[in-house]
Structure formats: C-alpha cells, structure tokens
C-alpha cells in the first residue's frame, strides 16, 4: 500500500497521446480467449449445455428409455406442476339435515368421485381444505406434492439459515483466541463437514430412533420422564426440524472458517478504541464485530441459502420424503420423477422452475443487503 509507486508512474501506461495505445489491445483479447477456453469449454459442456437441454426438454414429453417418439407438448409439464384451483363443497344433507360423523363434523361426498366426473377438474387432487361453517373450501392442485415440497424446502431454508449461521458465528468467536491447542478444537468443529453426508444421515437416524435412539434416552433421563419419547423421524411435525438440526450441525464447519477469516480481518485497534470508550463485551460485539463482519455475513447467508435449497441426500437416506410428504423437497421430487420414474421432461420442468425461484431469491437477498449497507 505504501510502496513507492513513483517509479511506476514513469512507466508506459498507454495514454492516448502517446500514439502507442492501439497495438496493445488485440493481443490481450486473443490471450484472454486462449487462456480461458479450457475452463469455458468445461463450463459450457457441463453447465450451460445441460441447462439449455433441460429447458428444451421441459417442453416435450421426453422419457429416459422409450421407443415412442418424443413429442412437443408445449406448456403441459408446467401446467401439471403449477395449476391450482378451488371449489366449495356442501355437506351431505338428508332433507336439509346435515349428516354428521362420530366427532360431530359434517360429512362430505367423496371428493375424488366429483373430480373424476367433472372434466373441468381433470387431473386435480386435493391440496388442503378449510372449514367455512358447514361448507368446506377445498384448494386443488394438479401436483400437490410439488407444492408441498416447495413449502417444505422454504421451511427448511428459513430454519436452517439462521441456525447454521448462528452456530457458525458462535463457534468462530469461540476459537478466535490465541490459546494453546485451539487448532485441535478447530479440527474437531470442522470434522463433520468432511464426513460423508450419507454416513452422517445413517448415524443420526440411529440417534433419532424413537425407542432405541440416544436423544430420547437423554431427554427422558434429564427430564425425569416428563418429556415423552419423540418420534423424531416418524412424526410429520418433527421430521423436518430433525433434518434441520442434523444439516446445521454437519455444515456449520465451513461457515465457521469463513467467519473466522472475517473476524481476523477486523483490526485490533478498533477493539482497543472501544475498550477505551468503556464498551462492555456485548457492546463490542454489537458495535465492532458485527459491522466488521458485514460482508462476510452477506456472503455466508447467501451461499447457505442457495445450498439449503438443494436439500436432497438427507431426505433420500433418512425419510424418503416421508412421513406423508412432510420432508419431500423440490430436488427429491425432481429426482424421483425424473430418474426413478423415468419422466425426465417433468423433472426438467421442476428444475427450471426451481432455478428461476432461487435466482429471484438470491437477487432479492443481494438487493436487501446492498440497500442496508448503502
């Protein structure tokens, strides 16, 4: 920064008046292309070309293995993914008297028979329903599992990003000291990251077992039997939070190292000045550390969000999308439909929609952080 640049000033930075500007340009551009071609070729073949293929395939009825010719079907796949509709159901009434079941709730005619008979509702299935007095408002969708998967993925992202980044920041603050053996702790905190996610999922599914798992044993022991055994992976309420916990634990190590680098970039002078002004630990954290970590935090949050949207392995190994679709994510749905059921065009349509959604969210996040910073 403070090096003597006066010598450089005399060197020939091409200036218009020197008349020697023009000959410098063409070789630079040529070399730029030559040197970046191998990387650009790789990017093209493995990123851009498959992406374009996916976009084109999503407008056809391409299958992985089929003797039938592939046909252009236009927006059929998107229609099947995104179509939403609604209807209002009257309860079954016998001469004006509403028939009620054992719990006192009104009974309704079987929805599926209605949907199969009416051509306007062809292909629709129930997504969710609300009681309005005696009537029932039913929201229909052509692929309710896709919508559910999308909401599950959003739920996962909203839970895991604060948890993982918070854990990472906490761990980084802990190990940002000059104690002896601090490197041992750094390795220990980072080791979950280098373990295969499949192995981690299998081990945690042992820990999460309702009767034989360690978590329930400790919970019962520590609460003297008050907290009953929680069916971590079998209860639709608890399945996604269980996966959130495990994913945050496994991946916090990487963000921890990034935060550590950011912490070490904050000048010690600022802390000294804060102490001289009489700041306590919390004040120092809030007014010196956090603002100094602003850029790091933005990067960590955006990258964690984008990674979290791609949740697949944990679901595939631990719950297979269950129980009752409560842990199905968009990627899991795309792989099931596209590869296991061989409907690759549908899987491509899912991934195109997902790409647009993630792009929009990433751009929004960046806008949000730029506005706050600027």
């Amino acid at each position: 920064m403070n090096a003597d640049t006066s010598a450089l000033k005399g060197a020939a930075l091409p200036t218009p008046s020197s008349g020697a500007a023009e000959p410098y340009r063409p070789p630079r551009r040529r070399y730029v292309f030559l040197l970046s071609t191998p990387a650009l070729l790789g990017l093209f073949m493995f990123l851009i070309l498959p992406f374009l293929m996916a976009v084109v395939m999503s407008f056809t009825d391409q299958r992985l293995l089929s003797p039938n010719e592939t046909e252009w079907v236009g927006l059929r796949n998107y229609d099947r993914l995104l179509s939403v509709n609604w209807l209002v159901q009257e309860p079954v009434a016998d001469n004006g008297v509403v028939q009620r079941d054992a719990d006192g709730e009104p009974t309704y005619p079987r929805l599926r028979t209605l949907l199969r008979q009416d051509p306007a509702y062809e292909g629709y299935k129930e997504l969710t329903s609300w009681q309005l007095g005696d009537k029932r408002l039913v929201v229909l969708a052509k692929d309710p599992l896709f919508i559910k998967s999308f909401l599950n993925t959003l739920q996962f992202v909203l839970l895991v990003v604060p948890l993982q980044c918070g854990m990472a920041l906490g761990l980084a603050l802990l190990i940002n000291r000059q104690l002896k053996g601090i490197y041992l702790f750094r390795t220990i905190f980072f080791s979950p990251v280098v373990t295969s996610i499949v192995v981690v999922s299998i081990v945690w599914s042992f820990l999460y077992h309702r009767d034989l798992g360690l978590f329930n044993h400790y919970l019962q022991a520590m609460s003297f039997g008050l907290i009953g055994p929680i069916d971590w992976l079998g209860d639709p309420e608890w399945a996604m939070p269980s996966i959130v916990l495990m994913s945050a634990w496994q991946a916090a190590g990487v963000q921890m190292l990034i935060f550590l680098a950011g912490l070490q970039g904050i000048s010690a002078d600022l802390y000294e000045a804060a102490e001289l002004d009489g700041a306590g630990t919390w004040s120092k954290f809030w007014h010196v550390t956090l603002p100094g970590l602003k850029n790091t935090t933005v990067f960590v949050i955006i990258s964690t969000t984008i990674q979290a949207f791609g949740l697949f392995t944990q679901v595939d190994v631990m719950t297979r999308g269950g129980p009752q679709g409560s842990t199905s994510t968009v990627m899991y749905h795309a792989v099931t439909k596209g590869f296991r059921e061989q409907d690759i065009a549908y899987g491509s349509a899912i991934s195109v929609i997902f790409f647009l959604v993630i792009l929009a969210i990433a751009l929004l996040q960046k806008r949000f952080f730029d506005k706050r910073g600027g």
Partner: protein, 423 residues
Amino acid sequence: MKNTYLSLLPYAVMTTLSVSAVGAAAAPAEIKLWRHETSNIAEIQVSKDAIDRFNKSQGNWRVVAEMIPEGSYTQTVTAAALANELPCILDMDQPVVPNFAWSGYLRPLEGLVSKEALDSLIDSAKGSYKGQVYSVGQFDVALALFTRKSILDKHGIRQATMEQPWSKAELLDALAKLKASGEYPYPLSMRTGWSGEWYSYGYTPWLQSFGGDQINRDNYREAEGVLNGKAGLAWGEFFQDLFEQGYVDRNPSDDKAFIQGRSALDYVGSWEMDNHSQRWGEDLVVMPVPDFGNGPVVGGGSWQWGVTQSCANPEGAAAFVEFILQPSEIAEMSEVTGMIPSSAEAARLTKHYREGGDWRFFYDYSAAYAKLRPATPAYPIISSTFETMARNIKDGSSVQDALDEAVDTIERNIADNKGYGFN
C-alpha cells in the same frame, strides 16, 4: 557352421508359419457380458467359473465378463442403453425386463435358446413381455415367515404348514400374544427400513392374498378397482393396523431385529436362510406366509439373463445362456448361494432342494404360491408409486386416499406413454 544354420532355417520358418496359422484360425469371437456385483462373493465366483467352463468347452466364442456395482446398476444400464453401448449378454432384475423389451433393447429368446431348455424352467425364472420370453434365470427366492420353535412353544402358537397356513386371524392373535408378553417391543420384523424394490416385492403379495393387485392384468392399463377396491382397502387397513398396534416398527434403525432376538417373527426372503440358520440352528422354524383369503402368495422373479438387440454374435450369446441353464450349472449356483434352483432336474442334484432336502420347502412355496410382478413396462413407476403409497399408509394417512392417489399416478403415467404397447 553356416550350413547347419541354413539347414535349420526351413524348419524354423515352417514352425512359425504353422503356429500362426493355427492361432489365426482359432481366434474366438468375443462376447461381452455384464453382471451386477453383489456383496455375495460366492455368487460372483460361481458366475466367473461358469464363464470359464463355457470358454473352455468350445472354441467359437469367448465370453468376457464385467462386474457392475449393484447400487447403480439400473442407472449404468440405462446410460449404456442410451449411448448404444450395451453388452451382448446382461443380467437384469426380472421386473424391469418388460421395460427393456418395450424400449427395444432385448431379443426374444424363443428361436435363440432351445425349447427344451426354456420349458425345463419354473415359471418364475422367465421374464416375458406380451407373451414372448426375454430373460431366463438360474435361481429364484421365496418369501417366508421365520420364527423359532422355542417362541412358538412358549406362547402356545401353532406352527403353520403348507397344508394349513396361518389365517389373518391367527396372525393377529399370535402378534397380540407376543406383544402382550412384553418380551418383544415389536414382535414382527418386516424390513420396513429397506427402500427401493422391497416395498413392492415384499408387500404386494399380501395385497394379492387379500384379493387385490397392483394393476388389472387383463389389459395392463387400469388400476382402478384393482388397487383401490374393497380388497385393496382391506389390505391397506390391515397394514396400517399392524403399525398402530405396535406389532411392527415404523422406522427400524437396522435390519438385525430377528437375529438379535428383538423380534419374534421375520417376514423376509429365503436369501436370509443362511444367516438365520447359522444364528438359531435347530431352533429356527420356517413357515409359509399367511393366507389372507385368496391363498398365500409370494413374489417371484430374481436376476435373470437376457441377450441384447445390439449383439453381433447372438448365436454365441444363446449358446452361453443354454450352457448356464444346464441342470449341473443351475445346481452349482444353488449349492453355493443357497437360492432356489430354477428347474426340477437341477433341484434333484442339490443337497438342500432335492425331494426330502432340508430347504425343499422354499422350492415348494415358490412352485405353489409364486406370482410374478406385473409384466408391463410401467413396472418402474408402479413400484415407485407403490412404495410411496405403502409408506404413507404406514405413517398414518387415510388409506382410501393413498390408494386412490397411487391409482391416479399409475394410470396417468400409462396414458402419457400411450399404454406402454398395450392397446
């Protein structure tokens, strides 16, 4: 000196020429073979030995084998099919054979393999599509109920036999007794933790025993009324009840419950016989599966061999297939792996499966109860949809809704693919 060398020269030339002539005339055509690599090392070794014996037995063809990891086997074969790089012979899990045949990758075996060889096999050792045979297998497996004599005696439970298998009431009664005794957290182990093909292979037989099926086998286009009719509903409610009553673990952490004595009954295939008999010895008892109303049913069809359309030497491939269908070869595979031999003559040559042999009952179960999975190219989606549906039922969702949703998914997929060749 010079004369000696010169006089030896013609002999040297003649020897070289004749050796190379023999070599050139006898170069056998190479036939590529793929088989899936299982954890059963003995099975792989038997295959390799059979290939060696075939290669030595004749000089026209030479089979060269390549092992493909089982976990990604379907993906590997699909990718090779798309890239037009399939081998001459490959082994496939029987239920996907119709899909491969429909996609145009397999040759029908009638005409290539002799009629006697095909007729000698049991029904579940042949994979067909639209009436033509596309694959043949050396072995099969049968589902059964494993338990222990000491458990049956202690709780006063009758041992089921082929003449009188358990009825639904007897099964529930036995489970209630075992659960009430408090010795077993989950008395019945059904391998609910296994994913992939197990749910369809293992649980559809019970659905069929109730009177339902995965699809209407008359037209292979409709599942309405067959999967979600009264029989399907009865099966679904029974299946859900097993978990509600605590007889079966919804999410077992491992599949060692029976081996470790944590469960009393084990519903699994005959491939576990070796492990179970090593663990429990004389105490082990094997019973036929229960009869839920329409007779006991077990699954059928295991890994089978087929010949591809792109094969340059189909006669050579057919010769190899006929070679391994010989009773001696089938018996060898059965002796080493413990699986059911696929022909009656071969069974006579084996220690376990001959009449009066100690594992003969598996052969009898397979002969009496085996029902192949639907011979339609739609099978991959039927299997995947069935797994999702069975998992949802296990986890407590409405049975009729789950069945209906499965029917809708299957029928829509069939319509999308123009009936998969059934019109």
